[in-house]
């Protein structure tokens, strides 16, 4: 059973102009927003609840339930999270670049459902092109009267403001994002009491949703919540975008065609391991997720519950594949370095612990590891995420700190010997073997953005800077 493409349909069918308002409207665009104006909050929230749409920002929280939590106080705000900074994740970028109107229509519907008249899109600062496309699409929508005063000729006002981030991963965490929007330091707020739906932007009720979540909304209205729910893909409902990267032959963004196993994802869709090497491990859901290994996980299905049972998550949909030559110590160091660099610094365990972990890993990688270091590393991790389990028992305010220990769980469970060899040999066995010093960890792990530009080898056709960008 194959599932139709949903959020990537238009960009797949009309690669050259899917981002324009003309194409958007020619393919049924903005009809659902108009319809939404005639619907009540209860009807709209009900439809999304029925769809069982799960948030695509990483936590997979049911969107309709979140909307239902919106506190009665007004004004309410809508904030779309386009900070996409999780290493290995690059799906929102594609959605913004290639189909911005789809997200904007989703925002209009969401704003109506949540009685918001002001909405923000927080786009990571390293995404200039998606930001330009989004900004232009918003301007088009304003020109057509779909945004601004009295949208679509109704008496409903809605403004959308684009805000660019300044290079902090933590600003993707919804409360840090809100702080950042307010002009404060990008630091997560404590939950409770600061659940955005109760006390969000300017302490007012606020809905924060991911770009992909928003992009699904018009389709839910179009096909009906029930039909959407029954698409039944990775997250058990609806469809799901995966950013596949690392040592596969065909990295890129894929909207999953049907329920499938990891083996199918990596070998069929991804085309298998580069140079036909052996698969060593993969990260199923972004740098925060504990790793999977072929012996145990290859035949699990790519689905929320199945991942959770195996002690990991689908998270932001970033799958990073590592081949047999990958140095696990270095891969772990990359990830830990990323989190330590991105820690906002509020919580002691995250601020101090991740830096300490990074130092230990770097020492092992550089050949100065001590026999006690792996246990020390595990114990330090234990202090950030007590018990080293999934989901974590956090000692921190937000999940960033505990995310940093995910690779350590893998080192502990699957790669103890490899760490030991680093210690015994006084250096990286892979380097010593090949005499090379090139890093053998997927570059997407360092938070450097997608390994493959624009997902050009993925299922979604490429959109080169030269094509269709115009002078904007």
């Amino acid at each position: 059973m194959s599932t139709p493409l949903v959020v990537t349909k238009r960009m797949t069918e009309y690669p050259s102009d899917s981002h324009t308002i003309a194409r958007y409207e020619a393919t049924g665009g903005y009809e659902q927003a108009k319809r939404a104006l005639g619907m009540t909050r209860d009807e709209l929230v009900g439809e999304v609840k029925t769809s069982e749409l799960l948030g695509r920002g990483g936590a997979a929280f049911p969107a309709g339930v979140k909307w239902g939590f919106l506190a009665p106080e007004r004004p309410a705000y809508l904030v779309v999270n386009a900070d996409e900074s999780e290493p290995g994740t690059f799906k929102d970028r594609q959605l913004l670049e290639r189909d911005p109107h789809q997200m904007i229509e989703g925002m209009i519907i969401t704003a109506i459902a949540n009685e918001a008249h002001l909405a923000f899109i927080y786009i990571r600062g390293e995404y200039p092109k998606p930001a330009r496309r989004t900004q232009r699409a918003i301007e088009e929508a304003y020109q057509n009267g779909y945004l601004g005063r009295g949208i679509f000729g109704s008496d409903y006002d809605l403004d959308i403001v684009v805000h660019l981030g300044a290079g902090a991963y933590i600003c993707g965490e919804e409360t840090a994002l809100i702080n950042s929007l307010e002009g404060e330091r990008g630091e997560p707020r404590l939950k409770p009491p600061y659940f955005p739906a109760a006390k969000g932007l300017y302490m007012k009720p606020t809905i924060v949703n991911n770009v992909e979540t928003m992009s699904n909304i018009p389709h839910i209205l179009e096909m009906g919540g029930e039909a959407y729910r029954d698409l039944v893909i990775a997250l058990d409902t609806g469809t799901y975008m995966i950013s596949l990267s690392g040592h596969v032959k065909r990295p890129g963004n894929y909207e999953l065609p049907h329920t499938l196993s990891w083996r199918e994802l990596i070998y069929d869709i991804g085309g298998g391991i580069r140079d036909d090497k052996e698969l060593k491990a993969w990260i199923p859901g972004g740098a925060s997720a504990p790793w999977f290994v072929p012996d145990e996980h290859l035949d699990l299905i790519v689905a929320k519950e199945a991942c959770a049972l195996a002690g990991s998550m689908l998270g932001s949909g970033a799958v990073v594949v590592m081949d047999e030559d990958t140095c696990m110590v270095r891969a772990a160091e990359r990830i830990v370095r990323f989190f330590s660099h991105e820690s906002c610094g509020q919580c002691t365990p995250c601020r101090e612990g991740t830096t300490w972990m990074e130092m230990i890993l770097r020492r092992i990688d550089e050949g100065a590891g001590r026999p006690v270091d792996l246990d020390l590393l595990i114990d330090v991790s234990d202090g950030i995420s007590v018990g080293l389990q999934w989901p974590p028992k956090m000692t921190t305010i937000c999940p960033l700190g505990p995310s940093a220990v995910s690779p350590i769980i893998a080192l502990r469970d699957y790669f103890r010997d490899e760490v030991q060899r680093h210690v015994d040999l006084g250096g990286c066995p892979f380097e010593l073997k090949s005499g090379e010093t090139r890093a053998r960890a997927p570059s997407s792990l360092a938070g450097a953005g997608p390994e493959v530009r624009g997902g050009s080898t993925g299922s979604i056709p490429s959109d080169r800077e030269s094509a269709g960008e115009g002078s904007s």
């Binding site: 002691t348 365990p349 202090g383 000692t395």
Partner: protein
């Protein structure tokens, strides 16, 4: 939790059930139940931030055990808390090990060592070893972030206490976190030092030695300190302090948390105002002037010389030819002795503890509807019409700021220029100095309906004082009348700047007052007859009258007690002339000052840290001061000198000890009945507010005053005090004396342009009573048309109380 019956819930801590107040934070509920949960960022007087994570405990609220910070989570019924479980211990030990990982182990040379929450909690809740073998974080250490405070970022554990204090409590967020993650650091903004009047609180708040105070650095080890609780006489609210001495030298004051006054906070003036105590210039022996030069002598001779002439004048010209100025900086016991000395030994009512810049004595002492500081917390509306509280009444400033910012009071501020409270005020009215009446009139006429509406609230507290020298006391009385006439309940706090003015007035240090808020009258003196004998029953002269009397020769002899009219009286030239003209001046003081140098005999006094006694603050709260060290050399308490002087004059006062005086006060002063040292030391350590209602013998009737003549054009002069000035105690405290502004005039940019002056130019200001040169500072906070000259600045000439001023750029 705000109203009605307190509700209790049952929680289980480590297997034992406890009834705790519903809604209370777990960290305090546990502590009250006998279980201490470690903490760094949490502070009882600030919003919890849950950042340090050391208070993490395992809690089960029915959904399985979870780790939560005890400082951020209120208790709920049935909560099961495990503070000793393996998971809790692991989490807490980890946090402590993490904090110590980068913390330099320079405890042996750290001021905080020995009283350091990080040390203490590492011992009680830490893992006992550090496995960190990497290179620690490195920063330049320490960097001065203000004139008084230094920051060692290596020691900082990023608890947000200092930064939160500056944001939330003092309202001058000049320190912030910079950078992020492992590089997060506290710092100041470029070119903006931590120039806060409250910076020292951050040193006390800091749970490690990251913030240290210049005046204390490396001066003592905490375990060597001798400590007593006392109250500061640098602030009219008398904030509670601990005085710390090492090797017989006072090395610091710390704030003591109490609900009544300061919540533990201190202004930097109150915190660091101790260096003068050990100043080399302090008098240690009585001085007698011989052939124009002072010579040190012994007490017997000094008393004889001083008293004989006073006695002679009294015998020749009567008590009316003698006068006393001062007494507002000492204890109530000393003030009482002085009051008795003036009446009994000198036979005069020419007594004044105020220096011509104050409200009327009846308003200050006799306001029956006087508010307490605590009432600010429940006020619907707070009116501040008077001095800039931040400059002159720092404790009240913090309390009013909190009430407006956190507790929802509507704040109305009236002052001739910007004040420290404007940012939290719901309404700010500005007026030209000298035109206060017009504003009262305008309010009465309904010109500001929003203000009137606010004043019509159920619960109004009005803090009323003299905002500008040009205003005089009567504007304040008109404001009081206006407030009292409104609909709801109103309580007043009449403001005055010298710290124990209230106690001194309660002891009768005013020409028309006797001890216990009793007016000078036949009846009043009758009540005292048993203790005082026959004393004059006609009110005497106030300070201005005394100075005039000295110039005219009607007054021949003067006793100055801790008063420096030449610098402190609003028209210093008059004071100078008067002291010059005086036939015989005796002074009791710590230093030779511009005023005491006119004395023939100077008797060396003690500071408030050197004597025992009581003081009375702005709300009428009586508190006990405790001494920690004797004064230097031959210094003595005032009462003892006065008793000796009286003896020699032939009118003994019968004073034997400060405590005995206190007993006498509680018998003769109606308001002080029952206020004993025992009570204050054992039962009411935060003091007692002496009752006003019914007890007061004074009825304060505000005068109705006509509008002053208005200025048609030209500039108006605003003169007001700042926190740091050239007061004698500050002048001899090097850390604070450099903070005074100096001879400056603050001018609105428009006026600066009109004067064709640029910042730094010297302006010549001329009023009826004086002229001087001042460096111009351009200041948006001063409205166009008004120029602001801070009072009593080092090197500045005084301009008197006139509001009209001519200004021009002075020739180079």
């Amino acid at each position: 939790m705000t109203s009605g019956q307190p509700e209790f819930v049952t929680i289980t801590i480590d297997g034992r059930e406890h009834q705790v107040l519903s809604g209370e934070m777990l960290i305090t509920a546990a502590e009250d139940s006998g279980t201490y949960i470690p903490r760094f960022c949490w502070h009882p007087r600030m919003t919890p931030v849950g950042m340090c994570r050391v208070c993490i405990v395992e809690v089960d609220t029915g959904r399985g055990p979870a780790l939560i910070p005890a400082c951020m989570n209120p208790v709920s019924d049935g909560m099961v808390v495990a503070t000793q479980s393996d998971v809790t211990k692991k989490a807490q030990e980890a946090v402590l090990e993490f904090l110590l990982a980068n913390h330099p182990l320079d405890c042996p040379v750290c001021d905080k060592g020995g009283e350091c929450p990080l040390q203490d909690q590492a011992l009680s809740h830490g893992p006992g070893e550090s496995r960190f073998v990497e290179i620690k974080r490195n920063y330049e250490k320490p960097i001065p972030i203000s004139d008084l405070v230094l920051l060692d970022r290596e020691r900082c554990i990023l608890c947000d206490r200092c930064t939160r204090f500056s944001r939330e409590i003092s309202g001058d967020p000049l320190i912030e976190f910079f950078d992020r993650g492992n590089k997060t650091q506290v710092n100041t903004f470029p070119d903006h030092p931590f120039a806060s009047y409250f910076s020292g609180n951050t040193v006390q708040l800091c749970p490690v030695g990251a913030l240290t105070a210049g005046p204390y650095r490396f001066r003592a080890r905490p375990w060597d300190l001798l400590k007593v609780v006392s109250s500061s006489l640098f602030d009219t609210a008398h904030p509670r302090i601990e005085v710390h001495a090492s090797q017989n030298e006072i090395v610091r004051y710390t704030g003591v948390d109490n609900d009544a006054t300061n919540h533990g906070w201190l202004s930097d003036k109150a915190r660091f105002g101790f260096e003068y105590i050990h100043s080399e210039d302090r008098l240690g022996a009585p001085l007698v002037r011989r052939k124009g030069v002072y010579e040190a002598t012994d007490w017997a001779e000094a008393i004889d010389v001083a008293a004989d002439r006073l006695g002679l004048i009294r015998d020749e010209s009567g008590g009316d030819a003698l006068a006393v100025i001062g007494g507002a900086h000492g204890t109530n016991e000393d003030a009482y002795a002085l009051s008795k000395f003036a009446r009994v030994a000198l036979g005069t009512n020419n007594v004044d503890c105020r220096l011509g810049d104050s409200l009327s004595s009846h308003f200050l002492a006799g306001t029956v509807d006087r508010a307490t500081i605590g009432q600010l917390d429940d006020a619907d509306t707070i009116l501040v019409w008077g001095p800039d509280l931040k400059e002159e009444h720092p404790t009240l400033y913090l309390r009013v700021r909190r009430a407006a910012q956190e507790l929802g009071a509507e704040l109305v501020v009236v002052h001739p220029r910007a004040t420290g409270l404007d940012d939290v005020a719901f309404r700010k009215l500005t007026y030209r100095p000298g035109e206060g009446f017009d504003l009262v009139q305008a309010l009465d006429d309904g010109r500001y309906p929003d203000v009137i509406e606010a004043l019509d609230a159920d619960n109004v507290v009005a803090l009323i004082g003299i905002a500008s020298h040009a205003d005089g006391p009567h504007v304040a009385e008109a404001v009081a009348a206006l407030v009292r006439a409104r609909r709801g309940r109103s309580d007043l706090l009449p403001l005055n700047s010298r710290a124990n003015t209230y106690g001194a007035l309660d002891m009768g240090l005013a020409p028309d007052l006797l001890p216990g808020r009793v007016g000078v009258s036949q009846e009043g003196v009758g009540r005292l007859r048993d203790h005082w004998g026959e004393v004059p029953s006609v009110p005497g002269r106030d300070t201005a009258g005394i100075l005039e009397g000295l110039i005219s020769g009607e007054i021949r002899g003067l006793l100055l007690v801790g008063a420096d009219p030449v610098r402190d009286f609003p028209i210093p030239a008059l004071a100078e002339e008067a002291l010059e003209a005086a036939e015989w001046v005796v002074a009791i003081d710590l230093f030779i000052t511009d005023s005491t140098r006119h004395a023939e005999v100077i008797l060396p006094a003690e500071t408030f840290t050197e004597k025992e006694g009581t003081v009375t603050n702005v709300e009428g709260r009586v508190q006990k001061l405790n001494n920690i060290r004797p004064g230097p050399g031959q210094t003595r308490p005032d009462w003892a000198m006065l008793d000796d002087l009286a003896h020699r004059i032939g009118a003994p006062l019968g004073l034997s000890s400060a405590e005995a005086i206190s007993k006498e006060i509680s018998t003769v002063a109606p308001a002080y009945v029952g206020v004993s040292w025992d009570l204050l030391e054992w039962e009411a350590r935060d003091g007692v507010v002496v009752p006003l209602e019914g007890e007061s013998q004074l009825a304060h009737i505000p005068v109705a005053v006509a509008t002053d003549g208005k200025r048609e054009n030209g500039l108006s002069l605003h003169v007001a005090r700042t926190m740091y000035d050239d007061g004698v105690r500050l002048r001899h405290s090097p850390s604070l004396s450099r903070l005074a502004l100096g001879p400056v005039v603050l001018v609105n940019p428009l006026d600066a342009t009109a004067l064709d002056a640029v910042p730094g130019d010297s302006l010549r200001l001329v009023t009826v009573s004086g002229e001087g040169r001042f460096e111009m500072v351009v200041d948006e906070g001063t409205p166009a048309g008004t120029v602001y000259v801070p009072f009593n600045q080092p090197g500045a000439t005084a301009l008197g109380i006139d509001s009209a001023v001519e200004a021009e750029v002075a020739d180079a």
